[in-house]
Amino acid sequence: MTQEMKGLLLEDRWAPVTEEMGFLELGSEQAAQAFATWEREVMTPRGITVEVLPVAGTLEQALSSLLPLTSGERRRHLFIPTRSAWTAYVADQWTGTDAASPMSVMARRLSIRCLRVVAVPHTRRKNQGVRYGAVMLEVYGPEQPGKISNTVRALAAANDGGRWVFEQSGELLPFEQVEQYQARKLRDRFTFEMLKDYLRHLGLAPFEEDFYMPPGSCAWLIQKTGPFGTTLQEYTLEEARAARVL
């Protein structure tokens, strides 16, 4: 049984990498360099080298630079240019990108807006497990006096391990369909269509392939090498997908 969620990026072929993505309201090279700077603060004392490498080609070619996916600490992060003022962010974690922390930190450090976007169809396959569905949007902003967190707005309708939850916090964005938040079914309070609409208002079309890698641009790969504390285990995209009920 799969929840209807048509129009996912690359027909969901790159899940779990693209199930969750980050977006920074900044050029891709600038974003990558700023991220590398932040990484070096912690990695350099540990003897880990942080490089920023350009990656040309199509979106899928850029995503391929993350392979193989890995366990343990993150080795590779990718910043992908778009046809907008936003830069996309994904990483090489074999269980999927964790965009929340990097985007929150970048928004604070660079005093820009950053997003965490999650779109996962709820899928239940007999004898194979469950891929818990989720639609989320988090908007982070610059640090504000008197506030601990820099989360500006958070919206989520997700299956939290067997039951659906709907959560929201922060100040309403002007284009939100607030009447939908009263829907009887929790999962209907924030749908994939609503997410796309909200993102369109923010100037993004992140589920369309041609939104990424405009002609003449390149993506930027952050690659870390050195003595990581944990054992590295590598996964092909197929292996990672099989493990995540994909």
């Binding site: 964790d98 640090e143 959560e167």
Partner: protein, 616 residues
């Protein structure tokens, strides 16, 4: 759960059996031979219990109950229990149970119960409960005291196997023994059946001596005759039919039998009188409806082994079986009279209705049936469909109104419905100063791994960086938890515990991992705890590059690899290839060690950090 020592299906069957026993069968027990006149009894109790299969972490619960009990303490009742939260982050649990209380002549009692438990805030789906209690009681005058050991299995209706067993030890006090209740609902009717039935003793026999009406009215108002009086009764008057005619009310007859002939078998082993024999013959005839028919008279040759054993116990070896058979036949007459008397049946129906309607599930089911069929579900009595609908919707409206009222009277910031603001609201709260912490247990040698000391995150300004750096906590603002900072620099002040057996509900959880929810979620009604949590999140993500941070979500392993429990650590994250779980507690909370053990049992590789936040 493992403490029950049985497989899952058998445990479930036992739970269902107890539930059914409490709700349906108990009325029959109430009418057993040893039951005397009913009293309305109120009770209050307190108990301490702990979930089976997890480390001992007792929680105290309080209960009030209303009973219809015999003098011996047997009958039915309804109980309302309240379980306060274990920690400031917990929630109240309210449970409503139908309870059947069984007891013999000794000090032992047994209770079977079944009902529903709810957590009203935040609202959780109701859980069904079934269980039992065994203990000792003493009744003196109008007060009864009891102490017992109870076990209750509660489970979500849709996930029968994922319940939780709780074992508890409690004491209770009961008020209202002594004089029979004057409550109309429990008071037996007078004489109707004996006068109306064509097969009654009055219909079949002519009374001898004083007329039944005059004597009955004087005798039923007073106490039943004492055993010594019975023993002195002349032979011609040692006739249970005479006593029935004199006493009339089934409770009084039963009480008289219990206090006299039940023990004084020697004086009641003479041959049956004509009245007694005719009663038995008439009532055991095939023409009597089966439900009302009496067992046939027993003869010395037809005594069962159990009866022979009882005879030896009461009369000694070599006693005449004939005498015992006469006594046994009289006992049957009394029991039959008691059990089939309309007043007894009326009481049973009343108690059944009481128990039925105290249980919300049963109430709803019953009213639904009545609306559809126009009959009571089990007694098949005709009822008004409109009345049933009215009762159902009235109860529903009252329940909804009560819920709204509870919500309106005590809004708790940051709890239940997610707040549409930051955990520390803009402009209204300055980050509270770092509280002086009760840093729990003494430091121990650092476990692996030994991360880069993040000391600068606490006290020093960040190193110069090309990009704008995060502002360090200004003096007087909230700082990261010292326990967290210590732990992540390799000196965890929380001693780690060895892994033990996992709870069944954790073992059976699906390993698939749900997504990380937004991290502004509250973990407690305490704004201070929530603010500290948010500060700690900022610390681990900004300065340590921690990943896969979850707040108040079910436990998962490193890198969201696998879900390993339905418990919800306050904070969990990955740092340098290691999974950390953080629990925030108040100084008075006793749940920290239990939470830590459960986390370790589910993921022995994880490191647990316990943080004590002072009360506000």
């Amino acid at each position: 759960m493992r403490g029950l020592g049985a497989s899952q299906p058998s445990r479930f069957h036992a739970a269902v059996s107890l539930l059914l026993l409490a709700v349906f069968v108990a009325p029959g027990a109430h009418a057993s031979g040893e039951t005397s006149q009913m009293r309305a009894v109120a009770g209050a109790g307190i108990s301490q219990g702990s979930a089976l299969g997890s480390p001992w972490a007792p929680r105290t619960s309080y209960s009030v109950s209303l009973w219809g009990l015999s003098e011996a303490g047997q009958g039915l009742g309804a109980r309302l229990s309240l379980l306060p939260p274990a920690t400031s982050a917990g929630a109240w649990e309210l449970s409503s149970d139908a309870v059947a209380r069984f007891t013999g002549e000794g000090p032992l009692y047994f209770k079977a119960l079944g009902g529903v438990a709810v957590i009203p805030r935040p609202w959780w789906p109701p859980r069904l409960r079934a269980g039992g209690e065994v203990g000792l009681h003493a009744i003196r005058g109008s007060i009864g005291l009891e102490v017992g050991l109870g076990g209750v299995y509660s489970f979500p209706p849709s996930r029968l196997s994922q319940g939780e067993g709780v074992l508890s030890l409690g004491v209770g006090i009961l008020f209202g023994f002594g004089a029979p209740s004057r409550t109309p609902a429990l008071a037996p009717r007078q004489r109707q059946w004996a006068q109306q039935s064509a097969q009654s003793p009055q219909g079949a026999l002519s009374p001898r001596g004083p007329g039944p009406s005059s004597v009955a009215e004087t005798r039923t108002a007073g106490p039943a005759p004492a055993a010594s009086q019975v023993a002195l009764t002349p032979f011609g008057e040692r006739d249970v039919i005479q006593q029935i005619l004199l006493l009339q009310t089934p409770g009084a007859v039963q009480s008289w039998w219990n206090s006299g002939p039940w023990e004084d078998i020697a004086h009641w082993s003479h041959p049956l009188s004509e009245w007694e024999r005719k009663y038995a013959e008439a009532m055991s005839a095939a023409t009597v409806p089966e439900a009302l028919r009496m067992w046939p008279l027993v003869t010395p040759e037809r005594l069962t082994p159990e009866q022979l054993k009882d005879m030896e116990r009461r009369l000694g070896t070599g006693a005449a079986a004939e005498g015992y058979a006469h006594w046994e036949n009289r006992r049957r007459i009394v029991k039959h009279y008691f059990m089939t008397h309309p007043a007894t049946l009326q009481q049973l129906l009343g108690l059944y209705g009481l128990a039925r309607d105290f249980n919300p599930l049963h109430f709803a089911l019953e009213r639904g049936w009545q609306m559809g069929s126009g009959q009571e579900m089990f007694t098949e009595q005709k009822v008004s469909q409109l009345g049933a609908a009215q009762e159902f919707f009235t109860a529903l409206a009252v329940g909804v109104a009560a819920g709204k009222l509870l919500t309106a009277t005590r809004p708790v910031p940051g709890w239940g419905v997610p707040e549409p603001v930051e955990p520390v609201g803009p402009g209204k709260v300055e980050a509270p100063p770092a509280p002086p912490r009760a840093v729990a247990p003494a430091p121990e040698p650092a476990p692996a791994p030994a991360p880069t000391p993040p000391a600068r995150a606490v006290a020093r300004a960040p190193e110069p960086a090309p990009a704008p750096a995060p502002t360090p906590p200004a003096p007087g603002t909230l700082a990261p938890s010292p326990e967290l900072v210590q732990a992540l620099s390799g000196k965890n002040p929380t001693p780690q515990v060895p892994a033990g057996p996992r709870l069944r509900q954790d073992v059976t959880v699906k390993p698939d991992v749900p997504r990380q929810l937004p991290r502004g979620r509250p973990i407690s009604p305490s704004p201070r705890q929530n603010a500290q949590l948010q500060r700690d999140i900022e610390y681990v993500k900004n300065e340590l590059h921690a990943e896969n941070i979850r707040v108040n979500q079910q436990q998962v392993t490193l890198e969201n690899g696998q879900r390993v429990g339905i418990n919800r650590p306050d904070l969990q994250f990955d740092y340098q290839g290691q999974r950390y779980h953080v629990e925030y507690d108040s100084p008075t909370s006793g749940r920290g060690p239990a939470h830590q053990s459960r986390l370790t049992n589910n993921d022995p590789k994880a490191i647990i950090i316990r943080i004590i936040i002072p009360e506000e």
